[in-house]
Every structure is written in structure tokens, then in C-alpha cells.
């Protein structure tokens, strides 16, 4: 049981890689803290492995509902003011962000 824990897999390389995907730059101390936090989270998740889930359908939705639809009719008007209301930086009714590549 012990050796199957996913928490054990959090190596230095793993934490760096997760940092890249999350677009986070972590200092040395932050890295260690994040590693410890993540290991605790995964320990918690590991508890699931103790349960017998044989023959149980994976659940993706908490309510037993399906086919919730809208009809294809435009009811929203010009939303730019509300959309841009909290924009930290704005130009020509667009959000202004640091230059992206390309």
C-alpha cells in the first residue's frame, strides 16, 4: 500500500514543471512550501485508493440531470462596458496585456 502513494512522486523536477504549466515563478523557499502543500493534498487524495470502487460509474455531475439546453436565439446585447469594467489596463475597448509571442 505505502509504495503506491502518488504523494511520493513529487520530486524537484515535478514541482518545477507544475510551476511552468501554472505560469508561476517560485523562490527556493516557496518551492519547498509548495512541495509540502502538494504532498499533503495528494496524501488526502490517496485515501480514495483505499476505497473499493469496483463497478461504480465515474461521476462527472452531482445531479442526475442531462440535456440542459438553450435555444439558439440572441438575447445578449452590447456587453463591452460591463466586460471591461474591471480591466486593469484597457485600450480601444480591448484588454491590454503584456505582449504575447507571435
Amino acid at each position: 500500500m505505502e509504495d503506491r502513494k502518488i504523494a511520493d512522486k513529487i520530486s524537484d523536477e515535478m514541482i518545477d514543471y507544475v510551476g511552468i504549466l501554472a505560469k508561476l515563478e517560485l523562490s527556493g523557499r516557496e518551492r519547498e512550501e509548495a512541495k509540502a502543500d502538494m504532498e499533503r493534498m495528494l496524501d488526502y487524495i490517496d485515501m480514495l485508493n483505499e476505497l473499493d470502487t469496483e463497478g461504480i460509474e465515474p461521476m462527472s455531475h452531482v445531479f442526475p440531470i442531462s440535456n440542459v439546453f438553450r435555444e439558439d436565439i440572441v438575447t445578449n446585447g452590447d456587453g463591452h462596458e460591463e466586460t471591461l469594467a474591471n480591466a486593469p489596463l484597457m485600450k480601444e475597448n480591448c484588454f491590454k496585456v503584456p505582449r504575447t509571442i507571435g
Binding site: I65, S66, R70, N76, H80
Partner: protein, 478 residues
């Protein structure tokens, strides 16, 4: 001796669906609105907003799935694909990974007289991202979310294509099917159809695939063909030099006819896909599928046969006309209205094609009404106008959809059938061109042509050239 290589190509094709509203909110999908005017809390990923699926997206997606011979997934679900980029306001794109709406299909393509099947691995529904515009002045990027949440289907083929020709044939086939369904206009230039090319090369005869690259930014069939050739050569050069092909995403620059690496390709697991808890599963039952199947339009293959049988036009004509749904619709309506399908077909195949080319337009952009074309056919057939006037009138129909009857009346373009008036003009032309008359009598056929031309000019094109020709000969030969 040089090694022989085989190119192995698979395509990921994104198609924007022709719905009026976005996939999860009631914002308009109309193209070209001022920045961020077609946005709301849902399509800008505001916390607490709830996406609700547009039923029409499922209708279109299932119709496309059936038309490309896929199995429709009876219970499909949406997943979140997580990545960080400013064009993606939620920090995840709602897509389908685990249970896409359709899978295991195929389309049949034909290249150089050979038929083959290109298998479709799967097709899923997803939302489009916003648009980033580079701002030269500030060296920043500006984000417009009008396209964010526009519905897409992504059609993923198996690596079944072996040449640029096959890639183009596959894309044309998909485009035609989807246009016939009315599910999208599939314009590559405007981005309503986009293709990413996955390509690898392997030594001829080898079983296993080489390392593949993915190429993006291909916005015309010609660019796709050039990119396939360019990437094939680049990979072969690497292998010949004893180097390795790196698995990566590359951006094709069609002006430079070269591709450049973009970013290292993330694995599916890097996107940390998980089921979207905001969206309920979609259950497509037998009854729904049967209804969509029953509503499928007549596709090209059936149309081709019917045109030959019902309208009695040559296969060649039928092939050209059915290459566009719009053109086929015009042909059918105009033929029914005037009862002369071959004449209608001639107008479409010659003048319409010429004008489309001249204006750099696609057949789907044709905007004239079939009734006006039918009227033009009738005016020409009953001799009200001659063929050169008819061409002039057709240009007006093509560009402004004028009513040819009114236009001919207003501009006084009817053929002059009064022989007395014609004879007067002919005598004048003969008197004014003694040299041409002499030349003609000496046996120079060209001289007659010039006299006919002069006459037509004096009659402002309103005479029947065959009649002018005949009358001129009569006068000169006596």
C-alpha cells in the same frame, strides 16, 4: 542510391458552426463587431457564471458526425482543458476529451482517379478562443473576446494521407459536406475552417511512424499544399544528415515558405483535463439521431446522378456546379423557373466562373437570385436580346442582382429587328469603309469582321450579329 521516403499526414480540422449564438451563452456570433461588444460574463469567464449549451450546436455536430460516417456517442460530456493564455479568459477551454460526440468515421476521397478512405478518429465540440491583436505602438497585446465561446467542432483524422493532393482532396470533401449541411460556411481565409497538419516521414516500406510535427497557421489550400511539401523536405533533410526530428508545433510562414518552431507540444496530461461540473451530460437517443438522419440533405454524389437524369446535363457540368452548394441551389431554382437547364448551366460554368475569378470570390458568395438568371435565359432564347447584350446584362445581375426585364427595357437594349433600319446603317458603314470593302472582295475574311464590328457599334450592340453578317454579305456579294 537515395532512400525513398513516405509522408504520413493526419489532420485536425476546426470548423466554426453557423449558429446565431455562442456555444454556452446568448451572445451573437456575428463576425466583425466592435471589440468586446459580443461578450457577457459567461464567455469572458467571470466567476459564478453558468454556461448553458446551445441545442443547435449538438444538432449541427451530430449532423456532421453522421455525414462523415461516425458513430454518435449516446451519452457525451464536456471536459475542461486547462492552460494559461490571454485569449482564454477562463484559464480553461471547454472541450470534449473522454466522450466526444462522434468517433470512428471516414470520408471517401479521390485523387488522380484513385479512391481511398480517410478514417476519422473522432470529432468533438468545443469553444473558440478570443483574438489577440499586437499593438505596435505600445508593444503590448490587445484582447478582444468576441470570438470567445463561438462553437467549433474539431475533426481529427487518422494518419491516412500520404501527399498534399490527398490532404486537399480530404479538406475539399469535408468542406463540401459541411456546406451542404449548412453547418458552416467553411471559409479558410476568414478562419471559419482551419487545419492543423500533423506530418512525419518514414523510409518507404517501414511499418512504424517517424516523429511527427504539428503545423499551424495554414489559411488557404495553396498554403497547406506548400506547407506539406516544405515540412516533408525539412524532415527528410534532417534524417539524411543523421539528425532527429523533434516533436513540436511549428508555425508556417507562407510568405517565406518556411516554418518556425512555436512551443514544445504539451502532452494531453499537461492540460489536466477533467469533466466540467457546470455542464450536464448530453444524451442523444435513437429518436434524435433518426430525426437528424432524416433531415440530411441530398449530398453531392446523389445530386450528380440526379442532374444527369433529371436535367439531362453532361456529367462535366454537373461536377462543376455541385462543387458548391450555393451554385447547385441556383442551378436547380433557375432551371425550374425557365425549364432550360443546359442554358442555365452554361451561364454558371462560363460567365459566372469568369466573374468569380475576376472578383476573387468564392461560389458560396454568389448573391444573385435564380429568378433573374432564369429571366435572362428566356430573354436570350426568345431573341429579345442578343448574346453580347446578354453578357452585359448578366454582369449586372451578378453584381447588383438587377431584374433583367426591367433593365433591358430601361436601357433600351432590345435587339433591333427592323430590317429597314439595319439596311440604312449597313449602307452607311459600306460607304464609310471603302478600303475594307475592297479587301473583302479581294478575299480577306477579316475585313468582313471589321465591317460587322462597325455596324454593331453604330447600332449600340442591339443588332443580331448573325443577321448583320448575313445582310452584309448579301449587299457586298451583289
Amino acid at each position: 542510391m537515395a532512400k525513398q521516403y513516405e509522408t504520413v499526414i493526419g489532420l485536425e480540422v476546426h470548423v466554426e458552426l453557423a449558429t446565431k449564438t455562442k456555444i454556452f451563452c446568448s451572445c451573437s456570433t456575428q463576425f466583425g463587431g466592435a471589440p468586446n461588444t459580443h461578450t457577457c460574463p459567461v464567455c469572458t469567464g467571470m466567476p459564478g457564471s453558468l454556461p448553458v449549451l446551445n441545442r443547435q450546436v449538438v444538432e449541427y455536430a451530430a449532423a456532421i458526425g453522421l455525414a462523415v460516417n461516425c458513430e454518435i456517442t449516446r451519452e457525451c460530456k464536456f471536459d475542461r482543458k486547462n492552460y494559461f493564455y490571454p485569449d482564454n479568459p477562463q484559464n480553461y477551454q471547454i472541450s470534449q476529451l473522454y466522450l466526444p460526440i462522434a468517433k470512428n468515421g471516414y470520408v471517401e476521397i479521390e485523387t488522380g482517379g484513385t479512391r481511398k478512405r480517410v478514417r476519422i478518429h473522432e470529432m468533438h465540440m468545443e469553444e473558440d478562443a478570443g483574438k489577440l491583436i499586437h499593438d505596435e505602438w505600445d508593444d503590448t497585446s490587445l484582447v478582444d473576446y468576441n470570438r470567445s465561446g463561438v462553437p467549433l467542432v474539431e475533426i481529427v483524422s487518422e494518419p491516412d494521407m500520404r501527399s498534399a493532393d490527398e490532404v486537399i482532396a480530404y479538406l475539399e470533401k469535408l468542406r463540401l459536406i459541411i456546406q451542404y449541411l449548412g453547418a458552416s460556411d467553411c471559409k479558410l481565409q476568414e478562419g471559419s475552417m482551419r487545419a492543423d497538419v500533423n506530418l512525419s516521414v518514414r523510409e518507404a516500406g517501414k511499418e512504424e511512424f517517424g516523429t511527427r510535427t504539428e503545423m499551424k497557421n495554414l489559411n488557404s489550400f495553396k498554403a497547406i499544399a506548400r506547407a506539406v511539401e516544405g515540412e516533408r523536405e525539412r524532415q527528410i533533410e534532417l534524417l539524411e544528415a543523421g539528425k532527429k526530428v523533434i516533436q513540436e508545433t511549428r508555425r508556417w510562414d507562407d510568405n517565406k515558405e518556411a516554418s518556425y518552431p512555436m512551443r514544445s507540444k504539451e502532452d494531453a496530461k499537461d492540460y489536466r483535463y477533467f469533466p466540467d461540473p457546470d455542464l450536464a451530460p448530453v444524451i442523444i437517443d435513437e429518436e434524435w439521431i433518426e430525426r437528424i438522419r432524416a433531415e440530411q440533405p441530398e449530398f453531392r454524389t446523389e445530386k450528380l446522378e440526379r442532374y444527369e437524369r433529371e436535367y439531362n446535363i453532361p456529367r462535366y457540368d454537373a461536377e462543376i456546379i455541385t462543387e458548391s452548394k450555393k451554385m447547385a441551389d441556383i442551378f436547380e431554382a433557375a432551371s425550374t423557373a425557365c425549364g432550360k437547364p443546359k442554358k442555365v448551366s452554361n451561364w454558371l460554368m462560363v460567365e459566372t466562373m469568369r466573374l468569380l475569378k475576376e472578383h476573387g470570390m468564392e461560389p458560396e458568395e454568389l448573391a444573385f437570385s435564380p429568378e433573374n438568371l432564369a429571366k435572362l435565359v428566356e430573354l436570350t432564347e426568345d431573341g429579345t436580346i442578343n448574346s453580347s447584350v446578354a453578357k452585359e446584362v448578366f454582369e449586372k445581375i451578378f453584381s447588383e442582382d438587377v431584374d433583367p426585364e426591367k433593365y433591358v427595357e430601361e436601357k433600351g437594349l432590345k435587339t433591333v429587328s427592323d430590317e429597314g433600319a439595319l439596311k440604312e446603317v449597313l449602307q452607311k458603314v459600306i460607304a464609310e469603309n471603302p478600303q475594307a470593302v475592297v479587301d473583302y472582295r479581294k478575299g480577306k475574311a477579316k475585313a468582313l469582321g471589321s465591317l460587322v464590328g462597325q455596324t454593331m457599334k453604330m447600332m449600340k450592340g442591339k443588332a443580331d450579329p448573325a443577321l448583320v453578317n448575313q445582310k452584309l454579305k448579301e449587299l457586298l456579294d451583289h
